[in-house]
């Protein structure tokens, strides 16, 4: 009993059996299908998958900012133990202001081009800090935050407009704005994808450092397996709105067991130069008519009748390493 209390306390976010569909002009697109994962305090969790697999939809569900045509079929998202779908508007707003914050893929469109960084930063902080905080204090908090993301000369950055900053600097500003409000959970949606590799490396190292220094938690979303391997401790591999495999990052990357993970890994070009596989045959299923059973069954070389008709249960094949596949123990 005591153990359970402890895990409850350590968990900052829990997504339980989340299924989301979208009403598209009368037709229903079944996107997320039973997503579950947990983020502990100070943990870095990765969501990785190809475009259209539901990574961003999952993040939007966490903040409860899904578009109006979204239908939550089942499941809940518990932030510090409270379901975000049932929260009072005021509590939800407070969570977004100071609880969980997003860092977007493209920093140029995340910042408003017509306001200086100072104006944008202070506006965001005003709502996150107590009402009686003075303007001077807000300014100092902002400068300190810019300093903590290793921007040289934060005072000058405050006066700049977004177009005067490089992509890497803008992304640092976005990160600073997210952490300055004292948020505990960072939702990073492809934070380095639009940047050059050397800059991406700097941004990822910065996020890792902030997480360790301030005991933050991160959900890192990326389509790049390499990014996820290097910047998370726990990873969820997503395919077509389902989590097919999850576990400790070292485990999953060293010993992938789901046929999709194995196929995806073989498609990644490697520095060792062993050549690339010829891709995964077929296409991602149509979300309007997703397969009844395993969503990967239409492309899987090992698929049997049972895969096509019944959803595979999650199996624990190693400590903390889960695979949703009937044949997880047979596939290499």
């Amino acid at each position: 009993m005591k153990d359970m209390d402890n895990t409850q306390k350590d968990t900052i976010l829990e997504v339980k059996d989340l299924s989301v569909s979208f009403d598209v002009y009368g037709k229903v697109s079944h996107v997320l299908d039973g997503i579950s994962f947990r983020v502990k305090k100070g943990e870095r969790v990765g969501l990785v998958g190809e475009s259209g697999c539901g990574k961003t939809t999952t993040l939007k569900a966490v903040l409860n900012v899904l578009p109006r045509n979204a239908i939550i079929n089942s499941g809940e998202v518990l932030f510090e133990g409270h379901n975000v779908f049932g929260m009072k508007p005021s509590r939800l707003a407070a969570m977004r202001r100071t609880g969980a914050g997003m860092v977007f893929q493209d920093p140029s469109s995340a910042l408003n081009p017509v306001f200086s960084i100072e104006k944008q930063f202070i506006t965001a902080l005003k709502y996150a800090k107590p009402k009686n905080t003075s303007a001077r204090e807000l300014y100092n908090i902002a400068v300190e935050a810019l300093d903590s993301v290793m921007l040289a000369d934060p005072e000058r950055i405050m006066k700049s407009f977004p177009f005067q900053l490089s992509g890497g600097m803008k992304q640092r500003v976005c990160i600073a704005m997210t952490i300055a409000a004292g948020r505990q959970l960072l939702l990073a949606d492809e934070p380095g994808t639009s940047l050059d590799v050397t800059i991406q490396d700097q941004i990822l190292r910065l996020i890792n450092k902030l997480v360790l220094d301030n005991d933050l938690s991160v959900i890192m979303v990326s389509h790049s397996l390499g990014v996820i391997r290097e910047s998370t401790s726990y990873v969820n591999i997503m395919y077509a709105g389902t989590v097919v495999e999850s576990g400790g990052s070292d485990d999953v990357f060293h010993n992938p067991r789901h046929p999709y993970t194995v196929a995806l890994m073989s498609c990644v070009p490697k520095l060792t130069g062993e050549g690339i596989a010829k891709g995964i045959p077929g296409r991602v299923p149509d979300y309007m008519k997703p397969p009844k059973g395993c969503r990967y069954s239409t492309r899987c070389p090992y698929a049997q009748e049972v895969c096509r008709t019944q959803k595979p249960p999650q199996q624990e094949i190693g400590p903390g390493h889960f695979v949703s596949c009937y044949f997880a123990n047979e596939v290499i």
Partner: protein
């Protein structure tokens, strides 16, 4: 060794801005490309890799330098090239969503180069368009579809088919797969490699992805701010990167296996950002970010030096007078 198909000597391309400032997008690049090989050109954004591609296909005129294509200098021709030369040098762009006309069916897009470069009649052109689709491994029914009905990988293969329509010898691939998912990228790359073997094409493969380069290129050249830093046969390059910038690039790549991790020069940590090409630092362009910086790096521009067979590096650490 096969003959040279292309030789670029001291290529320069400057752009003058409205306020009179000069952007030195490409500032003295030497490259050679042999028949049937893949030369990988790698660099960060703003390093001038696409500018080189555009000069090669004639979209820009070179400011200075020579481009010798099969014995003829085409550096200053711009678009005034012979039809044959235009057909022989083709390009595939990064984003197939914007390089294919969304109002044209696939067949119509494929027929544009056929109309210009061949004397086929309409029925034959339609037949040829379907043949081209088959060559890149797409079903013939795609001919009647519009680009929006296709996936990113399929669209990119159609751009490849369109480039093949003129029977090219030299293909310039400008980040052909960087907009695609890895599983789709793998398909497109596989097809490109097959086509190269079948049709004996030479590829100038432009990308920012060094791990992809390892798997496709015979030789690799690294660009930084419009200048080459290092050029080497692929295997040698990844075993022993010499230029400090190259080492920084390699150590920044996120990788998926432990063996790869071992190949990265771990000690070099990425720092700084690529400066604006309007104001290229004097001396070595990389000295602002380099951990081995010496006084000479700030004053004198280093020269390319062959340190081992085919492995060239442009850095004062390796020059004789240092």
């Amino acid at each position: 060794m096969a003959g040279k198909i292309l030789e670029i000597k001291n290529l320069k391309k400057y752009f003058t801005l409205k306020n009179g400032q000069v952007v030195k997008a490409v500032d003295g690049v030497d490259l050679e490309l042999y028949e049937g090989e893949t030369l990988g050109l790698v660099g960060e954004s703003g390093s001038g890799k696409s500018t080189i591609a555009y000069v090669l296909v004639g979209m820009y005129q070179a400011t200075d330098g020579d481009i010798i294509y099969r014995g003829r200098n085409i550096a200053k021709t711009g678009l005034y090239r012979t039809l044959k030369q235009k057909g022989e040098i083709q390009i595939v762009f990064q984003d197939p969503g914007s390089s294919l006309n969304s109002k044209r069916t696939v067949e119509k897009s494929l027929m544009v180069p056929l109309k210009i470069h061949t004397k086929l009649n309409k029925t034959d052109m339609k037949k040829r368009a379907r043949q081209l689709l088959e060559e890149v491994g797409l079903p013939a029914e795609f001919a009647e579809k519009y680009p929006r009905a296709l996936g990113g990988g399929e669209r990119q293969l159609i751009s490849v088919a369109r480039a093949l329509a003129t029977n090219p010898l030299l293909m310039i691939l400008d980040e052909p797969t960087s907009a695609l998912d890895v599983s789709v990228q793998a398909k497109v790359i596989g097809k490109l490699m097959d086509l190269q073997n079948q049709l004996k094409l030479s590829y100038l493969f432009i990308t920012h992805d060094l791990s992809l380069m390892r798997n496709v290129a015979d030789r690799v050249a690294i660009l930084y701010l419009g200048r080459l830093c290092e050029q080497a046969p692929a295997a040698d390059f990844y075993k022993k990167p010499l230029h400090p910038y190259t080492q920084m690039l390699l150590s920044s790549i996120p990788v998926v296996t432990a063996e790869e991790e071992g190949m990265k020069p771990a000690k070099i940590v990425s720092r700084g950002e690529i400066p604006s090409p309007v104001n290229v630092p004097p001396g070595c362009a990389f000295h602002l970010r380099c951990r081995y910086k010496k006084p000479v790096c700030m004053e004198k521009r280093p020269v390319m030096k062959e340190v081992s067979d085919g492995h060239f590096v442009c850095c004062h650490l390796f020059s004789d007078n240092a």
